[in-house]
Symmetry: D2
Subunit: 458 residues, 4 copies
């Protein structure tokens, strides 16, 4: 598996404007009247308003800055996303359509909220009555694993948002694409909702190709799930808000521990294999951090400008220090061939947390300087939390818009929020790419101001 390539559509202030395909494929012309009820609303002053549908022609700009508009050729249309939402005509007949939902990869707060929203929207709004839950991710499609399907309806999902994790369970690792599509055919699934991250997008891309090759009419809609918030063209992935909230608790603990002992050092490892969004945001929420180390920013350990000397200076001045490190930071300190791989075949990043523990302890032991290092790794606690209210609302909208898209016959796409709008993004536009923290963005500038950390490079 290739490491995903970084992508410039990043954080709030892109300096380049990459092109990509914004066209969303559709299985065919939607001709069925939407079963969504038409309602009349009454404004403050009693005026009637009709609740409307979203037209397939509604678009929002991908880049909304003057700099971008200036670089367009005369008459050239800017890059735009299709707006998500309920369509007046849909592609599938509610009475007949079979839908399936699967969750893949690691746990993420809000997954159950997305499942719940999809099920309730299918059931109540579109009156769909055949909804299956596929258990243990892609394993659930492969007969030899022997996982049963779950039948999903309002009763099965009524309280699931009170709990973290996923009621469908999940798994990692590749499965045979042809076998997955065999299962979709066998089960007569017409809309497949996949909740997953980078690996899932890759698999979804291939599933769509196989579906096309077999000339099937199956819609595949992805709701992007990554606690690292590293999927490009998705401004914030669900669960990220909850993750940052929980991460601040870990940092608070590290700060308290650092203050509580002579030359106390609190070291917190946070999620972020390729991108430091969790680390950067959590550091901003609790401005007690002195060093934030993320994959996007190179740093040295040794030397006059390296982390260790800077840490020593900080301790000599203030007697305590707090370090936050994203799990993917400092990978240059590891040799790729020595690193383990996860069941999906992804190279697991070297354990930068343990490496820092060892290097810091060795450094101060050599100096004969007493330190008290406390290392906190809260990842599993964070991942398994139920979503906070903000993610909960967000998951609701993601699930609803996924259903609108699927029912309208859209496919090979993911549901995203972009500049406050829910939009359709083609899987091809994001697959294999990673959203990164832009070092020259307000976010990272603010982290540097808050920590006061120097470049940490010789």
């Amino acid at each position: 598996m290739k490491k995903p390539e970084p992508v410039a559509v990043q954080d709030e202030r892109p300096t380049e404007f990459p092109l990509f395909d914004t066209h969303i494929p559709c299985l065919g012309v939607p001709k069925v009247e939407s079963p969504i009820q038409r309602t009349v609303l009454f404004t403050r002053d009693g005026r009637q308003v009709e609740k409307s549908f979203v037209s397939d022609n509604e678009r929002v700009l991908v880049y909304d800055s003057l700099d971008y508009l200036k670089q367009l050729a005369p008459g050239e249309m800017p890059l735009m996303f299709e707006l998500a939402g309920p369509r007046e005509k849909v592609y599938f007949d509610s009475a007949k359509v079979h839908c399936a939902i699967a969750t893949c990869g690691g746990l993420c707060p809000g997954t159950n909220d997305v499942i719940r929203a999809i099920v309730l929207e299918l059931y109540h709004l579109y009156k769909v009555r055949h909804i299956f839950g596929v258990r243990y991710g892609f394993q659930g499609f492969i007969p030899r694993y022997g996982h049963d399907l779950m039948t999903l309806g309002p009763e099965e999902v009524v309280n699931i948002h009170s709990f973290g994790g996923t009621i469908l369970s999940s798994s990692r690792g590749h499965q045979n694409i042809a076998e997955i599509v065999d299962a979709l055919e066998r089960l007569n699934v017409r809309i497949l909702f996949l909740i997953g991250g980078d690996g899932t997008l890759r698999a979804a891309d291939k599933i769509c190709e196989e579906i096309t090759a077999r000339d099937l009419r199956i819609s595949v809609i992805v709701i992007p799930k990554t606690i690292d918030n590293d999927i490009p063209l998705v401004s914030r992935s669900f669960g990220f808000d909850t993750a940052v909230e929980m991460a601040t608790d870990a940092i608070r603990a590290a700060h308290t521990e650092a203050l509580g002992a002579p030359n106390g050092i609190g070291l917190v490892k946070l999620m972020g294999r390729y991108s430091g969004f969790v680390a950067a945001n959590a550091a901003l929420a609790l401005r007690e951090v002195n060093f934030v180390l993320i994959p996007e920013s190179d740093f040295d350990l040794d030397g006059d400008c390296g982390l260790l000397t800077n840490l020593e200076n900080r301790l000599r001045e203030r007697n305590h220090a707090v370090i936050v490190v994203a799990e993917g930071a400092g990978q240059k300190f590891f040799k790729e061939e020595e690193l383990p791989r996860d069941p999906s075949g992804n190279i697991k990043p070297g354990d930068i947390g343990m490496l820092l523990v060892e290097r810091i302890q060795a450094y101060f032991r050599a100096k004969g300087m007493e330190i008290n290092l406390k290392y906190i790794d809260p990842s599993y606690i964070i991942r398994s939390m139920p979503a906070n209210y903000n993610d909960r609302i967000y998951c609701g909208f993601l699930g609803q818009n996924a259903v609108h898209a699927g029912m309208a016959g859209k496919t090979a796409m993911l549901v995203s929020r972009w500049h406050g709008h829910y939009v359709h993004v083609p899987i091809k536009a994001t697959v294999g790419k990673t959203k990164e923290v832009n070092l020259d963005s307000p976010l990272w500038r603010s982290v540097l101001e808050s920590t006061g950390q120097p470049p940490l490079k010789n």
Copy 2:
């Protein structure tokens, strides 16, 4: 005082595109080199990047939809906001400038975070050493109240974000504009940071006019504060996120109470004098609400389609019901001349919560039907909470950008977040207007789907 007029720049999907002035006044040409340190950063692959400043020419679109672009005349520039951020040249000399901060109106989570961010940014980044806190809002400028000033620096603000409210205290009510400007002159204040809502914007507008009339060089920067989230051209006001989170707890309580007794009714009154954003979002976060009543949507109590009959039907079917009402809803049931006014002269909305309690009890008493109505008004508990992490990060950015703007000599403006960017908005563009829930937006459509509530109009 006039009731503010609703404005169409509302919620995510405007159908009209109103024009307004986006020009930000500046006190003069900034000629002073910014004291912000220039740093070199190192990317993942060791490449050097320079942390840059924001140019005064950077702009972002106000409306980013295709529909808007289509209606522009050929060659016509779309409406754009000035981008916030640090400028390379500033207007004030850090060594000499005196700054003042005041907080006005009701409590709102995050106020202390904004104060803290302003103080830390002024002190650490711009090396400003004369920062005053004005106590009890505009009262603090008026000598006869006898409120002392506070001197603010890092030590005074280090932990204030752990507590709700405002360390400067606040007050409501008008004060004499000339006396306020007299105080600014007397105290030699060159940048005034005001944290406040609708009334504060109105006062700030007049203060700016008085400053201009006296030909003074004083910058006035507003950080908009409204727990109702009803200031136009501000996509989300700080504290709103925390407020919705806390409001969901109240709704959860109401739901539990409703389930716990025969024909239980849980009724929750939430903040929202002119706009139902808190009520709508909280209802979405905890999808246990059956009726959401907001100022923007007209409804009847009596009659076959009115609330009471619908409530009875709900109880007969399901034995319990949850109602969420924004404080400004149903004002047609009150006579304006009978309503009290707050110290700022604003008409206080009629107490729709108590009116509903009385009308519901009377209705079922008349029917001889046992009900158990529990009325919850969590407003004071919500307002006085410390900010959650999300608001905390947001407040940090607002405070920082307010300082960047003030130091650059910008004035008569407020700091806003728009489509993910921090921007400068002229006070004149928002004063006297109110942001409203668009009934035909994804937000309200989603509320209606989630509650299943009918139009409630005969």
Copy 3:
């Protein structure tokens, strides 16, 4: 209904030692071998220990002070409680016994935990398979209300502790005792678990008398539920811990509000019809309260030593004040004949919160002194919370010991925790009595120290 009489067995340091009957009735001699599995345990050093049963002869002292022992006549046995726990022989045959559970009165955190513990203990430990949930309290026994029974087993209760309230729902008000016992006979119930407070104890007492009169073999076990913590011979009632925790949040809000405005007054009304335990403990947890008003302590409003003058002095000195009032305080300011009654016929206490609001506002209006009074009544939010972990563990033990007692044929008793032991208390010993805050106890002394409040009496 008579107001319950106060009882001297109160708070930690009784000055009198009242006598009462500590004999627990049993339906007959338990002859059935307990189905509880006998296990061998292994200590740290590998030694075997056998898990033992509790003997019917195990007793713990009611009063454990030297002063009490001294007043005993030579040879006189001190007052003792029977120890709760599993017996080696039980009275009922697990295979045949039918059990019922009902919840009565207002909501209280932990009720679902008690239900869950009873069901799991009956099911898993005693292998009982006939467990019914009676809905809406005593209403559920009366056919004309038409409430269905619930069948309870592990699946029905697996997650209920995550939610507040009671899955059985509750009701207030008297029901005909004979009809209730008719229902027990009709349903063949042999053990009735009642979760309720003062009124439930009274009803349980009469139900036991009726059962005796009819010469039935039905065990009635009460798990005492009172958020006010006012049942005598129960050192802490379940849910009380959660209630105090939530109450401190309301006080924190009141304190923040008081600080946030000129002459701010935060007034919080807390639960406590006859006893001020919630108010006293919450005031201790958040030592920001200036006046605590409880039913046990008389106070004046007017006059030089009254509350209002003291409040004014406080405001003149410190500009803000926080008052906590238990709902049953200051009842002398109301005329009993003017007060409403609840469905159980209990006189509802006069609304001391609103009375204080009116009197405080009138007092300062008359003085022409600007105040900002914020009144918070968090009762419904508190009552409907899920239990915190401490109450959760406690509820588990209460439910388990209730089951042990019922299976052993004990009856007319409640389960209590006393000096760290779980014990059996005869209903007759507590019915119609109220536990009170002892004004000369460490608890109240500590409140007075913390608030610095004077006697508030002329």
Copy 4:
């Protein structure tokens, strides 16, 4: 250092009743009138009550069971504790006395609350004006470390309970006893308050001996701090309640992780070097645990009855499992000579968490069975939390009673809560002993019932 010996005065239901000295030494006869204000209180019915002092003769029983009383010889007095509380006469003159406070050992929730209570009680009630904070534990007494003293008063402690850790900072490791007493003499300290655990009790014991040898009049009062709750004759140590609450969150996470993947295993390591109280209580609070491993209970890993086989059976039946292990469990699997020591010279327990991770992974790898093991160690996050409300109230009482004792000239004692009373316990009665979970107590029986775990011994 010797491992402390287990002691039979354990958990709720002792089967043996060990003897120990309950006599509390006093520096001399208290002759000074207490500066505590005498107040008159007014009961509900307007009757006057005087707030009283506690007499030195007030005693409460150590053992309150019938079994204990029966074994007393005729006329023999039972074992009793001195009751804590304010005395009418005190030993020290408030105007002159100097007091010092130090915190030793690891962090524990509530430490700042105890400091705050001591300072406020000394300052407000006893009008003491010389209060020092000693920094970094016993290091702060030793000049060569160069730690400054803090001056403590109401302003310094007003908000410290909002934060975890200790404002005095702490340290581990032995310091020279004579040097400590030298410092007490040099600083003219007359009352020394020590907040610490087992090691601190040992040091305090020796400090008292040195004070006696030098014939000084210095009172030493210990407030016992152990997050493990393992100090004998202390029914619950402060911070324990908070620790269990936080531990349940970690278990909830482990359970969610276990459910989320094929054959998921959640493994949580909790505090508890010699005693499993945290593990046992947390398992009860969240009844989702399948195996609880504590130091008091021997278990095997291998063999038909060992943990690994039982774990496999559980996975084959239910596909997931949750294990909670106290850090001191399973020490037989380590060789003492290979274990590291902490700075105090205590042998650090072998890392049972990592050992279980390795053994479990090896076991299932050998079987070719896919498992997903998630290991959570939340100790640092738990230790550094602020106290929950329940601990907060408790810490208040501990601090107050420590001050009452110190001012009365008591010494060589610790403050404890016993059967609901605050009492004085001689240091000699607890030093070098450890409170343990009684395997035949309601606590452990309830854990076994809740987990259903077998003896895990071949």
